[in-house]
Symmetry: D3
Subunit: 209 residues, 6 copies
């Protein structure tokens, strides 16, 4: 497994439950990886023309391509994994309090083994943050914290295209508070948190302390 | 706080309870960082001429300097921290089952705040592995896993100079099993595990997923 | 044990490690309880005339009396507990990362049994928040969350009198982020978090769901 | 979110897996809330005429209305939530060892988001105790402990109407032991335990320490 | 419940997701119990003629009978439990990272209550180890550790009949490392780890310390 | 390490903080081991003639010898360990809420390494229950549960000799409730709980599932 600390991954795939989840929970990291040359893709279930258009617009701001699927099923997802062969995969935490998030994470887990055995990818899998940082097991623990100070404005812009959603009075402030908290925890302005998920007994490593 | 994923640290300090602890729990990582240009130092309480000489010989194999102190006290340690200004600090887990290890970790925690506020260093602090990977809170959790395949032979050589200790029939096999386990968990031959410890609310970050 | 949900406590005592800790970690709740008629007291070790004066000024803003002691020792503290007989006691978490905080919490634990057996007080004991919400065991867990929206301005004023400390660029923003996070978690502007600590097998209760 | 510590909730809904679960795990609290003016309702899947009649009789003792549904499905439950708009919702723990309990808790989680967004209710959600206080994650943790000394006799009477079940030699003694344990933990004769579950990032708060 | 420390169980049933799982995660313990007179059975979903034949051969080496089922369903499994009435049941951890394992464990949990109420069996239920000892909740915790030094060679032989699988370069070394780790943790050459799972509030006991 | 499931230990040593702690937390297990031929000893700090006499009387009921020491110090304790060479050691949990208990457990931990390396004993170390089953980390977890139904009456008699203590209205009922709870968890009338503590990386094992 290539160390998480050496080279930037060539590709990152985010599989999310709702059209604004990629922006909300991982937008800073996705934009950062796109700026460093990674092919960034987002898979999300179609939520009708309005929200699908918002998802496409948000992805464009992040520098990501978007794959809208009628329904998130493990077979569909396994096919996408075989095709895209992402080095890094991001999805919702398996203890996320939102049932759509939990179900998405579970579907990703279902889809993983065969593509991993066949293609060796994804090499690293992460769960992302959730509502006010509260999972069913308590507050999100530090795992992998990424400085997104340089892309936080882009994240906020990507979020703001979701006009059908309560961004200004709800999700925007939540994203701001969580990013400030994780930022404070690593001594920068803004950060995002990810939790490594073992895949067939493998976890990410780091090149140095 | 400089991200853990960007550049190799310029200096690493290990504060350990016994003369062979640096080799046993962090020898692969210390040698690796020394090979990448970091100034590596080990602080350990003097255990008499025989074991002190073994400690010096082991440190030499790892490429580290050794600082033998009469007793590990927080004031002494704070002085060393102010003088060496290590970017990275390694010590025993605060839930280590061995009382000497626990006490060492606690002393390090006592010594940290003032030097950190004054010098900004250490920037990152880690607890290391322990006997059969069992702390008072259960098995050591993944935190930061480092591939030490390239320096594991050096670690074993450094361990083997501790002639007064039961290396061949006890500590050597333990180091081998633990390094294989953590290695398997990141898909390499040998690895070492470290657990980030927050310092004044700060944790290590990583540059990318 | 009087239920935490019925009547406001008649007295609250905060035992803290540094002169600005009461404001920083519990200032909103202390001011709130003072406004509701509780006698609020703060015990802190003397840190010299400048900081002691700041502590006195901060306590005055919160509506609290302050007890400066030469050193926080369990015998001294037991005497204060027997004298003040606080219904509620607040101190640092026993897994706080700061050694002074940890030591203070441990001293409180040492002092508790005899006064509790003799006087029946304190009835409820809580640990408070810490640097960026990170203890040695991970992020602070929800336990008891208190809405301090109505006293947060007072908390900020009390903090700001600590001129010798880096309030504006460090502790103030940290307090703001943590209070926003806990506030969001209960749907208000600002909140503070406390963790019940069992005393001789007793925990706080609540009158209704 | 109205604080858990201010006024008694106007309505409480318990969604349970079996006809005697409401009595067994939450009977004291349900009766207590009914006595304080809350509308208390129980939703349970029909288990045939004998057990359904026992459920109705038990609910009557507690002062609760009962809603028997052919099958606990999230759509059905969402409809009931929109209709009853309970301020408080109680269900089984998501780590309950009994598969029917786990499934019920999961169904409740599935049903929650839309009614919460639409109606703002339930405002607080709790998981309840389980067999001998053992979940899949270990013993039930303190969360919210309620003094039910005044309604424990009513709980035992409500339990005893379930003639088809092994109440006298099994569930009755279990309820007695668990209520004594939680009672001892808050210094009263009998208590029941509940665990707050975050809903869209929101948890219950308390008005004072 | 008969204490786990008194007499050897008369029967052990392992319900596993894949044809080589019984050997991989519990082979040493199954062979040991068979040698001590227990009837040992393995239930696994059919994976086609090649793997089914390997499963039969592996079971034969362990001294176990094998029950191949078209699909692992809770009703099917409940029937097998009623028929075999195993004293001990082993299955995958409910937090196993492999979706097939997780699903198998969940199916076992679904099947348990009725047979347990009707027949009093199984008396004890355990989850087994998993890939590199990593569950979704972190490293496998010590629970029940069994010395399998005397049957480890048999386990390796049973594993080696699974010619269609990457035994020599992957599963064999993993089994070796995990067995050495758990062995070191109890001071023997090889051991296996099991985690007690509560069944209707019951856990295994032990006759003496 | 001899498996915990094979033969009864030849000797058990309990090191406790107060004169009635052995009876309260481990009295059933101590009496049981004494009845099965183990030499059972209790070490406790002297608490004056009245309580020391009660301790002696209580130990006599349990079938144990008592060693009263002026103060529990690690050097003193190490000497006792070298002299008695107990196969099993019991002490307070390291996260016990009572400061005397915590300190006792910590002293035991300090005393252990040298005697263990020199004599190979104690082979197994356990923490015991505490006030209402509540440690600083939450409720006591299942670890090792022992059926003490046959010796519970003896435990209650041993407790009742502590006339200076509030046995009838406080400690007796607490012991009853905890023993019923743990008993219910293994399907017997009364049980006691113990938590294995790793010693130099070693934990107890069990001979069979």
């Amino acid at each position: 497994m290539v160390s998480g600390g050496s080279a930037w991954p060539d590709s990152v795939l985010a599989v999310m439950g709702h059209p604004d989840d990629a922006e909300l929970w991982a937008g800073g990291a996705l934009a950062l990886h796109a700026e460093h040359g990674a092919r960034v893709a987002i898979v999300v279930a179609s939520h009708g023309p309005v929200r699908d258009a918002e998802a496409a617009a948000g992805a464009a701001v992040l520098g990501a391509e978007i794959h809208s699927v009628p329904e998130l099923q493990s077979e569909v997802l396994a096919g996408i994994l075989r095709s895209l062969r992402p080095e890094v995969l991001i999805t919702h935490s398996l203890t996320d309090t939102h049932p759509d998030h939990h179900r998405t994470g579970r579907t990703v887990l279902e889809a993983l083994p065969d593509p991993v055995i066949e293609t060796g990818r994804p090499r690293r899998v992460y769960g992302c943050e959730t509502y006010n940082g509260l999972t069913l097991d308590g507050p999100t623990s530090p795992g992998t914290i990424i400085d997104v100070s340089s892309t936080f404005a882009k994240k906020r812009r990507a979020l703001s295209v979701h006009n059908s959603q309560p961004i200004e009075d709800h999700f925007g402030p939540m994203a701001e508070t969580l990013a400030r908290l994780w930022g404070a925890r690593i001594g920068v302005a803004y950060a995002e948190q990810f939790t490594p998920i073992p895949v067939l007994g493998r976890l990410p490593s780091i090149s140095h302390l």
